[in-house]
């Protein structure tokens, strides 16, 4: 499906269809697509480059332009790639006709899109999404966002010469909603013991349609197939981790440069993630939010507001606590990203809170999502071994002396 997406982009470029660049968090894919745009998500391009071990070349190119060591790897991957002509191992990335910055959850978004606008000389629309600090969205926030969405729609009308079709948008949102429900069904399969899904490593691959292809039939069909597969797994007893020993909640962006190696470290200990926060960067559908065709723009605004990293720490903590409970997890693994402050700043405090206030054993690991220079396999493995070793030990001694709880 990913291949098909890049082929589609290629096609769009050949046919000279307009291309918009968008960010995953709080994206406006439904509206933009309804005006005939193809959409490029540079974050997804970047992570694909990392998986294919190409990111370092682009990063070094960006560093030669002056981007410092500490700048987000996605940004450097993207700007380096642009400077080198946009050719990736999986296809050519067309230049943007429009840059849509959904400022939802990460400040770097603003800087990144600014740099793109200046480098590629493309028009930029800033969709300002307030940070979510209360459980329910505030009325003023929604009003502010809806007003901006109308500005945006008018901009699109002007640029494409098309007029906005609310009925069509509602139909698209209906399909979004279908896909979202199916995705949630998939995620919640993690509640079974043993878990028929891998809610981090596997879900990260499956989150592509929910972020990128929302509103298409293709996305709906995809999740139908996935869910059928999950049912077969349950029926046949074939689980992603054959012998489930530890159930984990995982927090943080994965190290895409060493994705397989990292996953293997978990499998070796029979550890399976039953829930994870990262697949919710697009939106917290599993917490009851769905796009709503009867309140089209309002629900789009709520969607943008509700992206995982756009939630403040008290809300993030609450969510993780909920996952631990609902998914009967034994431990939490936090993966900190050196160059991503949005996710990472405060994860140490989260770790402290998990251990001391919820009594959940928690492991903190650190590397980078894009930059292979920061993945130290021996160090990471050592930490994981020690963590699972101690978990194992405490469990067996708790079993030997009943009535004593593990600290």
């Amino acid at each position: 499906m990913v291949d098909r997406y890049y082929a589609e982009l290629d096609q769009a470029e050949k046919e000279k269809r307009p291309v918009a660049y968008m960010l995953v968090g709080g994206n406006l894919t439904e509206i933009v697509r309804s005006f005939g745009y193809e959409v490029v998500f540079p974050e997804i391009v970047a992570l694909n480059c990392a998986i294919k071990h190409k990111s370092l070349d682009y990063i070094l190119q960006a560093e030669a332009q002056g981007y410092g060591l500490d700048v987000c790897g996605y940004v450097k991957n993207d700007l380096g790639l642009q400077a080198l002509g946009g050719n990736t191992p999986f296809g050519h990335i067309p230049k943007p006709d429009l840059l849509v910055c959904s400022f939802s959850g990460c400040y770097v978004y603003i800087k990144w899109w600014e740099a793109l606008a200046e480098t590629l000389n493309a028009p930029l629309f800033n969709f300002d999404v307030p940070y979510q600090r209360t459980e329910k969205p505030l009325k003023e926030d929604i009003e502010y966002m809806v007003a901006q969405l109308w500005d945006f729609i008018h901009l699109l009308e002007k640029r494409t010469g098309r007029s906005f079709d609310m009925a069509e948008l509602k139909r698209v949102l209906e399909r979004s909603r279908r896909a979202e429900e199916l995705w949630v069904k998939y995620l919640e399969a993690g509640k079974h013991r043993p878990s028929p899904i891998e809610a981090y490593f596997e879900a990260v691959f499956y989150m592509f349609p929910i972020n990128v292809l929302r509103g298409t039939d293709q996305a709906v069909r995809f999740y139908e197939t996935v869910n059928a597969e999950v049912e077969t797994r349950v029926k046949e007893g074939t689980y992603p981790v054959p012998e489930e020993k530890v159930r984990l909640v995982v927090e943080g962006v994965p190290p895409y440069t060493n994705y397989r190696t990292f996953w293997d470290f978990f499998r070796k200990w029979g550890a399976v993630s039953v829930a994870a926060t990262y697949p919710k960067v697009g939106g917290l559908f599993d917490m009851g939010f769905y796009h709503d065709p009867s309140r089209p723009l309002e629900s789009i605004a709520e969607y943008s507001l509700g992206a995982y990293v756009n939630q403040n720490w008290p809300l993030r903590r609450q969510l993780i606590r909920q996952y631990i409970k609902d998914y009967q997890a034994d431990a939490v693994v936090i993966h900190g990203i050196k160059s991503c402050r949005s996710f990472t700043a405060g994860q140490g405090d989260l770790r402290d809170w998990l251990i001391h206030e919820t009594g959940t054993p928690t492991l903190y690991l650190e590397s980078d999502h894009e930059d292979p220079r920061y993945f130290a396999p021996a160090q990471i493995k050592n930490r994981m071994d020690a963590f699972f070793e101690s978990l194992d030990q405490r469990r067996s001694s708790a079993a030997a002396t009943p009535g004593r709880s593990t600290p």
Partner: protein, 268 residues
């Protein structure tokens, strides 16, 4: 008029004697040990002796390098980036890009045809990218410093060092030895890693031929080869380039002396 440039480096004090800012008369060096003023004086004495001069014959003394403020009888001090650039262009007039790899730091400098610094970049906080690293490897691997380069040149499959930390890189090297990677491959890996770090600096200031290597690593043919391989460009390396900063300081001293003689100038 005879001017002297004195480069008080962290490992070595280097001196150069120039005539009329045009002719390089002599160079000399001494290790930096103990009192910088004394070691510096030793270098000046050696230069004077070689040319049969009295110290008083030196019209102007300009210092540079890490210890440029530590030499009380100087008339002027300039930064070693400024002076290396001048020195490199003096030695190789076509130079537009200077790479200076010294004991503790590496710098890439883009220069005008007159040797004026246009842009420069030095290695960041991490100490992994400079000559001291080669010295430590030489100690660790028990290969004399002078032989490091020639051994490295026999490498067939250089083994790169991935660690960004100079200290952890040592551990990595030990692991390589344990895994029976040939010594030459490890050594060439050291130079290539240095060259790669340098390349990042060079790209930052934008690379333009000709490139001239200055600083202590000019003596290492392996370093020259590594930089050429990494940048895919030809690199000038002449032995006098170890004295580039001292030469540059001598040149700037000459300029300044002329200005003073003419009674003008406010620079510095």
């Amino acid at each position: 008029m005879i001017t002297c440039g004195l480069d008080l480096g962290s490992g070595l004090i280097k001196g150069a004697l120039l005539e009329d800012g045009r002719k390089l008369l002599a160079t000399a060096s001494r290790p930096t040990k103990g009192n910088a003023t004394q070691s510096g004086q030793l270098v000046i004495d050696a230069l004077a002796e070689e040319q049969n001069l009295m110290t008083g014959d030196i019209a102007y003394l300009c210092t540079t390098g890490f210890g440029r403020y530590m030499f009380p009888t100087r008339q002027l001090q300039v930064s070693d980036i400024t002076s290396s650039a001048r020195g490199a262009v003096f030695l190789r007039p076509g130079t537009r890009h200077v790479l200076d790899v010294g004991a503790q730091s590496s710098r890439a400098i883009s220069v005008s045809e007159k040797g004026k610094v246009l842009k420069f970049k030095m290695n960041e906080k991490c100490a992994a990218g400079a000559g001291r690293f080669v010295e430590r490897c030489s100690k660790y691997l028990q290969v004399p410093l002078e032989e490091m380069s020639s051994k490295a040149l026999t490498a067939e499959k250089p083994k790169l060092i991935s660690s960004v930390c100079a200290v952890l890189a040592e551990t990595e090297i030990i692991n390589n030895v344990a895994e029976e990677v040939p010594l030459a491959d490890i050594l060439m890996g050291v130079y290539l890693s240095l060259a790669q770090r340098a390349y990042a600096l060079m790209r930052y200031v934008s690379i333009q031929p000709e490139i001239t290597l200055v600083g202590g690593l000019v003596h290492s043919a392996a370093m020259v080869k590594a930089v050429e391989q990494t940048t895919k460009l030809k690199v000038n390396a002449v032995p006098e380039a170890h004295f580039a900063a001292a030469i540059g300081a001598g040149l700037l001293g000459h300029q300044r002396a002329l200005k003073l003689a003419r009674g003008g100038g406010v620079a510095a």
